[in-house]
Symmetry: C2
Subunit: 360 residues, 2 copies
């Protein structure tokens, strides 16, 4: 087999290639294919506020190909000095509460103030429930066309840890690209709220009037994390019920312990449909920013968050390194069986495996 048979131009194995394909032409094609965009190109594009470069860089960050990691790190590292100049807002709420319509209305309002708005989504469940990403895209059809907005759904089919890490890195890229309001959206199920909470400055819970908290599946812990609870769909016949709900929530909020930020969370009304309540909400977030920047909480909180992500990454990698070790993988099953047959205690089995790992 000559070298040519290895060429990608050989489409069918076993079929001889006609001799009249010019070697020069095929080399030319291969050369063009090889011309991939460099880390420097991406960084230059991002700093030049080019959304295409931003999208490419996020795709690089999201890549599970190990060869891309180094390049992704270079891009992030180069963007670091230009990041951190934004307010990061987390938005959660159960499906049906109208998150997409709300973000569309809120994001559009912010662009009229001259803000640049990036929307990132954390939704590890999208690969299972399906459709939500495309759904969001179509539902935010105004915002997606807005030159001062950028919408990026999460990488589907990833674990929460993976998606969260990549979202956190994407925030840095968006900020370097000049976006000064970063909205992180999460569907109101499971653990993703905690992940979002650990990467935003302001955490907003979107609610509906009428349905009780229990029925809405909102966990106490999520209410406790919220800096604001906004009751959406306060329009038409719903206004009265929404006002009652607001009072109920306000009463419930008093029962929670005081926040370290010094901020007292409040309940408010809005109608994403009628684009009402957006101005008041932004004013509230601005007040939060002013207060927490004055009392030092804003910066201190961001520092805690970065430390948290550093430690989380370390802990995850320590585990990966252990469980990916071939010796451990072989022995793990044996030890598991001994434990399952009640031959040894789980603690002794753990010790056996750790001894093996640290000896090697």
């Amino acid at each position: 087999m000559d070298q040519q048979s290895f060429s990608a131009l050989n489409e069918r194995d076993g079929v001889n290639k006609p001799n009249h394909i010019s070697t020069q032409a095929s080399n030319q094609i291969k050369k063009m294919r090889r011309k991939i965009i460099t880390a420097e190109d991406l960084v230059a594009g991002i700093l030049n506020q080019d959304k295409v470069a931003l999208s490419r860089a996020i795709t690089l960050v999201e890549s599970t190909n190990n060869n891309h990691t180094e390049k992704a790190n270079q891009v992030i590292q180069a963007c670091m000095p230009y990041a951190n100049q934004s307010i990061r807002i987390g938005i959660t709420g159960v499906p049906g509460v109208g998150k997409s319509t709300f973000i569309e209305a809120f994001g559009s309002y912010l662009t009229t103030l001259g803000k640049k708005v990036a929307v990132l989504a954390i939704d590890p469940s999208s690969s299972i429930s399906g459709g939500s990403i495309l759904g969001d895209k179509t539902r935010m059809e105004e915002l997606v066309k807005n030159p001062n907005a950028y919408i990026r759904p999460s990488a589907s089919g990833e674990s929460l840890g993976g998606v969260a890490r990549k979202t956190r890195e994407s925030i840095i890229l968006c900020e370097a690209c000049g976006f000064d309001v970063i909205i992180i959206e999460t569907v109101g199920v499971g653990q993703s709220e905690t992940a979002v909470h650990s990467m935003v400055d302001f955490f907003l819970l979107l609610n509906l009037a009428g349905a009780g908290d229990e029925l809405q599946g909102i966990k106490r812990g999520i209410m406790e994390m919220a800096d604001a609870i906004v009751i959406n769909k306060a329009d038409g016949d719903n206004v009265k019920r929404a006002r009652i709900a607001k009072l109920d929530i306000q009463r419930a909020l008093h029962l929670f312990p005081e926040k370290k930020s010094g901020w007292a969370p409040t309940a408010s009304l809005c109608s994403a449909l009628e684009q009402k309540g957006m101005k008041e909400l932004w004013q509230m977030i601005t007040e939060f920013e002013t207060l927490t920047k004055q009392n030092g909480y804003f910066e201190q909180h961001r520092k805690q968050q970065t430390t948290h992500w550093m430690l989380e990454t370390i802990n995850e990698q320590l585990k990966n390194n252990f469980y990916d070790n071939p010796t451990i993988q072989a022995e793990l099953e044996k030890q598991k069986n001994s434990v399952n047959n009640n031959e040894i205690s789980p603690f002794k089995a753990a010790q056996n495996l750790l001894d093996l790992y640290f000896k090697a």
Copy 2:
């Protein structure tokens, strides 16, 4: 200084020892002091259903002295073949719900059936709130005197992880000592319920009538874990309210997803004070045991639990080994500062530390 000056018999330094102390006598004393109970002695005592040996073994397991770990492991290892012959019941509920009185009544009832009942407590907060251990001891004054019962409070001042691990090992020792009902008690705050849930077969939530779930601080997640919700203090004027509460809870339980065990959790009434409802509760637990042993869940669940504890222990030790490393400790602060000053991303800092760790 001669060798004698090192003797423990020299009570005051600098004061000469009278010569008439017999060397023979002092050697005799030292020899007796050195006669510490061996692992074999402890195991023999435990298998002989000796509660004093059991207590000593649990103290050994709870010891934070590294020299005791090996001996503790020997004892546990030797007890393993005699363990696992019990039903493990977790009991939780907020303070004031009457857990101690309930356990006293329920435990006493079980001993009248010829059962041997061990009560272990998980309460990492006891060192802070204080008094709860002694409080429990006095409140369970009938049970503590009962020859077929054994009550052991948790080691105070430990982290939850530490207490939980030690409780799990203590279960093995109690089972080898012939106890066939193991009750694990936890105070209804924070994460300890999850730890208890991961070491028991049957998880019981003790409630009160009248107060709403929100007011009782019971998280949805804990209700979801429960195999039974028992409304205590269903006595006197309270009976009617307790009956209504039972119906409410039963309705709420229908909303939860079906359990893997095939068991449908129910609400029931009891009065620990009047010792009512104990027979019915034990009957329910027996039904649970029969069902889950028939459908294979019981054993499968225990296997999952031991695997869980093995992996938890590994993950904890991997972290300890990393963060206790002096090179890492020195570098960690530097990397944290770089991250806090936005010089590098938290992920790059994590990578730097991991590279350093795995190179060494």
